[in-house]
Symmetry: C3
Subunit: 198 residues, 3 copies
Amino acid sequence: MLYYLDLFGTLVFAISGVLTALDKKFDLVGSVVIGLITAVGGGTLRDVLIGRTPVGWMEDQWTLVAVLAGIVLSYLLKPWIIRLKRSMFLFDTLGIGVFTVLGVQKTLNTDLSLGVALLMGVVSAVFGGVIRDVLCNEVPLIFRRQIYASACLAGGLVYEGGLSLELSPLLISPLAIAVVVGIRYLSVRYNWSLSIPR
Amino acid sequence: MLYYLDLFGTLVFAISGVLTALDKKFDLVGSVVIGLITAVGGGTLRDVLIGRTPVGWMEDQWTLVAVLAGIVLSYLLKPWIIRLKRSMFLFDTLGIGVFTVLGVQKTLNTDLSLGVALLMGVVSAVFGGVIRDVLCNEVPLIFRRQIYASACLAGGLVYEGGLSLELSPLLISPLAIAVVVGIRYLSVRYNWSLSIPR
Amino acid sequence: MLYYLDLFGTLVFAISGVLTALDKKFDLVGSVVIGLITAVGGGTLRDVLIGRTPVGWMEDQWTLVAVLAGIVLSYLLKPWIIRLKRSMFLFDTLGIGVFTVLGVQKTLNTDLSLGVALLMGVVSAVFGGVIRDVLCNEVPLIFRRQIYASACLAGGLVYEGGLSLELSPLLISPLAIAVVVGIRYLSVRYNWSLSIPR
């Protein structure tokens, strides 16, 4: 189940990457590269840091298929994409929730500590977007829109809390994803922010 | 033979990196760093992603010697470099052809799939330049001048096609390099582009 | 002893990262991420390149504690930080000295050559700052203020020279650190530069 959500998140992230690239007037190659990096960048960075190489997507053909599907879809959907913005927001948030939980799981599988796993969960979810922004020569969005990363942090904490209570991953994975989606939805709805008072 | 071409490509890429850095008015350290990264960045990223560490140039002293030679040469040649532009273009294109073929080969040696090897061939050839551009705070050139990466993709496909026909690498390596050089030459000569119609 | 200096350098680098981020008006998440990356980025890149994964700080909880302490301290000290600038400069320089020596040591431990170890010493010391600058969408400082990296290079050379004379690391580590601090101090005091005459 999580595996299919992972592929779905990958597809959604690829779409969001291509749309950003088209917005910057990149050509075909530029959009494909940015789509790919947005989709797999976070998980790739996590895998490299924890020493899980060759990185995950190299050994699972379906990830690349999902990226390709996302790229093709974004060209087909372009005319409707503005009307689809609300659905895209939901899909994207679901995507970061799934990426967070999988990032925490994969890091714990290599016997690293809970703190490191939490960090790697957030990295998996947000660094695809960070690398996309750096390549587009922009200051990364998450440094200014912090509820994005904080929502992942909260979801990761819920997941690890559930584990330490010895609850089943089948129960706590959807719960942690719901926490990410919920916090992000509420933060956008009510315009929350963590900016620093001066 | 390919090994010597690889060292030659490394030297040429180092020159092109130093010249970019001098153009941005970087100092000695800046130019050396940019020269080094332009020359070995693509292969380094490939090695890290496929888990071939320590990365290649760390275990072959001649790569660093080629980089150093490139750096020294660019200071010596600076006054003539504009007149040398045409040769530089040829050398640079030869360089990306060689890097593509070697990138595909090295990835296939680690038992990864043809699709991944093709991607890693392109990464080896173009990501030195991408990292150079990011460090110089520019939008990477290849996202706007797409025939560059597409030429590598075509060369990689020819190489893998030849392999699947069980032709000898001695035959298909020069063929694939010629395809990269040819496509790039023609695309610049006739101003081809893959930009997206709106 | 070096270990405690390493934690101290990590704390100081985290402070310098957070202050840069606050200067750019990043929010809480942005400052924490930049603080973390400035502190551990150089060593992380070195570990990834030489194949020492999971990267060092993942297996030593105290590094993350030092980063957290640095982040908390920078919020507390913010009002005084301008007056503390002189001490910060000393601490920062001490930090790059320690990072250089440790970078050289750790690379030699993996049986790589003296030249590669020297490079990795400099990378350990300066690439945290380079990644910080790239994420803040700035041209990396060290490309324009070259005595910074050159001081590390000199310190690394002294350390390796001492090793080849079979002197004890207990003697040459402080000597190499002193060389880094001394060169950097003098270069700032007398406004040295290595810029290229035109």
